[in-house]
Symmetry: C2
Subunit: 358 residues, 2 copies
C-alpha cells in the first residue's frame, strides 16, 4: 500500500496513469518533471486515503488545462500551479488540507504532487473521473452538485484569473476554455474547492495508487520478460479489443482541444480489419466499419504493442504497432445523469452507450 | 455648476455624452434607464469635482463592456453592475469612496450613476478618456502605469469573473474581451481601482459636467429654435467638417466589437463629395477619397442634421441627413505615448496622426 509519494512513485504513476488517461491528460513526461522538481526541493508527499480526510477540511484540485499538443512545445515550470492554488486559497481566506487530481490522466495525475510538495500538504488517493475527460464539468463532483468555481487560472507570464461565481460547471468550462486559449493554449488551474465530507461522497477513491500499481506491474513485466499488455489488462479488468498498426493519423488543435482520428490496420487475429478511433483530447469511440466496438465513457487506451506503454493522442505515429485496451468506466458514469454529462451524446454522437463486452 | 445628479441631469448627460462618445459607448437610452432606476429607488447622487477626492481614498470605475449592437437586444437590469462592483470591493477588502466613468460615452457616462445611487456613493466629475475608445487599456490611467486589474465582470445569469492580476492592461483587455463574448457579448464591469491621489493625476476632469452642459445647450437650442449644431460646436470647440446624407452603411459584430463603415453623400457646400467613415465601436477615420479629413484620437461625431442629436454607430441609417462634427482630443492623447496607445497605428492605419484643422 502506497502511503508516501517519492521519486519512485512518481515514475510509476507517470508510467501507469496515461492508461487511465485514455489518450488524454497530456504528456506524462512534463507532469513528471514538475512533480520531481517539487519533490527534490521539498521532500516526499503523504498520500492520504480518501476515507481519511477530515470532514471539515478544505481540499482543492490542482491541474493543467489546455490542448496537450501545446504542452509539448511550452514547458511550464510548476510555479504557475502553485500560484493558481495560492490565489484560490487567498480568495477563500483558508488554507487547503490537501490537493487532489481532477482526472486520472498523464499530466494531471502528477501535477498535484508537485503542488503538494511545494506547499507541504498531502495528496488525496482519489480523482474526479476515474479516467480523463476533456472538459472541466465532466467530473463526478458535478453529479453531486459541487461547483467547479471559484476557480483560478495562472500562466507563465504572471496573469491570474479567478472565475469567482458561475451559473453551472459548464459555464466554468466555457470561461476557463477561452481564458486558457488567451493564455497561449495552456493554463495551470486550481478548482473544485470542497470540504472533506463532500470529497468523500463525490471523488473516485484509489486512482493514484491504481496508477502507481499499473506502472509498477508494467516495469515488473519488462524485468521478467513477461507479457506487459496481459499484466496491464488484468489489473484494470480490461479487454484487448484490437491489435494492429497505425495506418493514418488526423490531428488538429481546435478551440483549445486536440481533436482528430486514427486508423489502425488489424494484425494477427484482427488481420484484414480496420479500426477507426476518434478523440477530443481523450479517445471517444472505436469503430470497425459501422460497428461500434467501444464508446465513451468506457476507457479506450492505445498501448505500444511491444512494451505495453500507453500512448497519448499527441504521440500516435504512423506505422506504430499497437493494442487497443478497453476498460469499464466507474459505475456512476453509467447512470442516466452520468451519461448525460459525459456520454456519447455530449460529444455529438447519436450512438447510444452500451457497456463494452469482450 | 452641477453638484448633484438627479433625473434631470441624467437626461442631459444621456443627451450630451454620445457626442463625446464619437459613435461608441452604446445606446444612451439603456444607460439612462439604469441610472434612472437607481436614482428613483435611492435618491440623487453627489457629483464630486476630481480635485476634491481625498488622496488616500479608493475609487473604482463602473461600466459596461461589449458590442453596443448587442445592448439593443439584451437590456441589463443594473444589478449586474453593482454585483461586479461589490465583487471587486470584496476582493480588495475595502469599500470605494466613489465611482467614475471609464469613458465619456453614451452608456458609460450614466452607468456609474446607477451604481453610485444603489451603493450610496458619489460619482467623480471625470472620466478615463475624455471621449470613448473601444478597448480596456485605452485610457489615460494606462499612460500613468495604473493597472486595469483587479477587474471584475458580471452577467445577468449570475456569473462573476475576476481578472486578478494581469501582465499589462492589454492582457486585461484580451481576457475581458473573450469573457465578455462568453457572457453573451456584453458584461457589466468594475475596474481601474485606484487611490484618489492616482485619480487626480490620471483621470480627465470635468467630463460629466461637460456632457450635462452639452445636453442642456442642445435642449435649450430646441426650445429657442436656434441652430443646435452651432450650439454644440461652440461648447466643444469643434468644427463641422461635413454635411450630407447617409448613402451606405456596412456593419458587422466581430470579436466582440461593432465594426463597419458608413458613406455620406455631401449636401450644401459639400455637394458632389463622398465622405467615408470607418468605426470599431467608435468612429476612427473620416476620408474624402484619399484625403484624410480627421482621424483618431480626435473626436469624430455624426449628428442628426436637424436636431443636432449625436448618432451612435449602431443607429446610423440609410438616408439620414447628418453633420459630421470633429473635436480636438485631450492633449495627452497627442503625446507619443498617447498616440502609441490609441493612435491610428493601433487600429491598423498607416496614416500618421495629424491634429484636425478646419
Amino acid at each position: 500500500m502506497v502511503s508516501r509519494l517519492g521519486l519512485e512513485e512518481v515514475e510509476q504513476i507517470a508510467l501507469g496513469a496515461p492508461l487511465l488517461g485514455t489518450g488524454g491528460g497530456g504528456d506524462p513526461y512534463i507532469g513528471k518533471l514538475i512533480a520531481r522538481n517539487g519533490l527534490q526541493r521539498h521532500g516526499d508527499v503523504p498520500l492520504v486515503p480518501l476515507k481519511d480526510v477530515p470532514d471539515g477540511q478544505l481540499v482543492i484540485a490542482s491541474a493543467m488545462m489546455g490542448a496537450p499538443t501545446v504542452f509539448v512545445e511550452k514547458v511550464p515550470s510548476g510555479t504557475e500551479a502553485v500560484r493558481a492554488f495560492r490565489a484560490l486559497e487567498g480568495f477563500l481566506g483558508r488554507r487547503a488540507f490537501a490537493t487532489f487530481s481532477i482526472e486520472a490522466g498523464g499530466l494531471n495525475s502528477t501535477i498535484p504532487i508537485g503542488t503538494a510538495a511545494t506547499l507541504g500538504i498531502p495528496v488525496l488517493d482519489a480523482d474526479g473521473m476515474g479516467r480523463a475527460f476533456p472538459e472541466v464539468q465532466m467530473v463526478s463532483p458535478t453529479l453531486f452538485g459541487i461547483p467547479a468555481a471559484p476557480m483560478t487560472l495562472a500562466d507563465e507570464k504572471g496573469n491570474v484569473v479567478l472565475l469567482q461565481r458561475t451559473l453551472t460547471n459548464l459555464w466554468t468550462e466555457r470561461f476557463a476554455r477561452t481564458v486558457t486559449v488567451d493564455m497561449g493554449g495552456m493554463a495551470m488551474i486550481a478548482l473544485y474547492p470542497m470540504s472533506g465530507r463532500q470529497a468523500k461522497r463525490a471523488l473516485i477513491p484509489g486512482s493514484i495508487s491504481l496508477a502507481a500499481r499499473i506502472g509498477k506491474r508494467l516495469s515488473a513485466a519488462w524485468a521478467a520478460r513477461s507479457d506487459p499488455i496481459e499484466a496491464v489488462r488484468r489489473i484494470t479488468r480490461g479487454s484487448v479489443a484490437f491489435r494492429g498498426r497505425i495506418s493514418d493519423v488526423h490531428r488538429r488543435t481546435e478551440s483549445g482541444f486536440a481533436r482528430g482520428s486514427v486508423q489502425i490496420s488489424g494484425a494477427g487475429s484482427d488481420h484484414g480489419r480496420e479500426l477507426t478511433l476518434e478523440f477530443q483530447n481523450e479517445n471517444l469511440i472505436a469503430r470497425i466499419g459501422p460497428r461500434v466496438l467501444a464508446i465513451v465513457p468506457d476507457l479506450i487506451s492505445v498501448l505500444d504493442a511491444e512494451t505495453g506503454t500507453p500512448i497519448t493522442t499527441e504521440s500516435l505515429r504512423f506505422g506504430q504497432p499497437v493494442a487497443v485496451l478497453v476498460m469499464p468506466c466507474d459505475p456512476r458514469w453509467r447512470t442516466p445523469k452520468g451519461l448525460e454529462l459525459v456520454g456519447p451524446g455530449y460529444f455529438g454522437y447519436r450512438t447510444r452507450y452500451r457497456p463494452f463486452r469482450r
